[in-house]
Assembly symmetry: C3
Homo-oligomer: 142 residues x 3
């Protein structure tokens, strides 16, 4: 272990976990995305909406949230970076990261529609990382 933060193994595992998780979300694979949460996972992504809880609840919430896609198709890309990890006493890992979202409409230019942070609690389940919770904070939110 080097002089800063968590082990190389854990840090890179989290990077790969996030890449896979968010590629699934941006591809509209909401079931795959929900499976990266624990069965009782809690996902708070938008201040004006209640948190989604349980995998089934997260799937339903995402289909509802993206219901406009049929009439207003967009490609979103979620970028995560600047990740700091803190192992907690109960074996979970607290992850704090910067997030941005790029949105592109057909024939349009990309727009940055979101800048903010996510605070995750990650747990290991059957050897793989899962989100027990994710709380997204929007920059500029009043």
């Amino acid at each position: 272990m080097a002089g800063e933060g968590v082990s190389v193994e854990l840090y890179v595992e989290v990077q790969q976990f996030y890449a896979r998780q968010m590629q699934a979300l941006d591809s509209g694979k909401y079931e795959t995305f929900a499976e990266t949460f624990t069965e009782d996972g809690l996902f708070t992504h938008t201040p004006t909406r209640p948190a989604a809880s349980t995998r089934a609840g997260i799937v339903a919430d995402l289909y509802d949230f993206h219901a406009g896609a049929a009439t207003d198709p967009v490609q979103r890309r979620h970028w995560f970076n600047m990740i700091t990890l803190v192992p907690l006493d109960d074996g979970t890992i607290e992850s704090t990261l910067y997030a941005l979202v790029l949105r592109t409409r057909p024939g349009g230019q990309p727009e940055v529609t979101f800048s903010g942070t996510a605070r995750d609690v990650l747990v290991r389940l059957d050897g793989r990382l899962h989100n027990r919770s994710r709380t997204v904070t929007h920059d500029g939110q009043r």
Copy 2:
């Protein structure tokens, strides 16, 4: 090896490879960029242009593509992130990543001019990674 994806060594090697490769491109070092491809490499970067093939072909294509730079100088920055790696049976590695391009004109503000993905096939040649191919997909492309 942790619970997700490829080995820590390979993942970080790819990150360093991409950083070096794209710093070369954005500095206008097209020969250096082309050398990160195999001799018969295939580079498909823009839907309206045919793929560039071979190192010499990639160099020629890049000089042609950036020919406007003399009269419209810009600084581009290619960012790659959210990388997933899948080792294939033939020893190559399939890499899928998010890309964005920032463009800044002299005295101007940065603009996000591109959001999309790249799908690479990476091979090891003399101990170092190279692109056998890269296929770029543009978000919003019709």
Copy 3:
């Protein structure tokens, strides 16, 4: 060590160092940020301002630079990526990276206000990385 760049351990240590350092800056923890520099550290971040030097000087410079925040509150997010590392003969590490800054005003949409590079000289002090210097270059600067 893989075929490209520095060791996995060092590369990931630098990623974690930058994440922690820039989360501190964007949270307004200027003292914490300054402590990531050596005592005689040199920080050149804006072409129209002289370099800040020493930890105390960096803290004073940052409070001065952000003095407008009381009347124009913004949330900035500094993203670093595409990092290349070169170990130098004297034991220091030269780091070259892409940086972008997102700025969001209360109730507003995020804007990309900066794209450019940073060139760092990193040294190890009491086992942890520190900036001996950072020189920021702004894309589009005339």
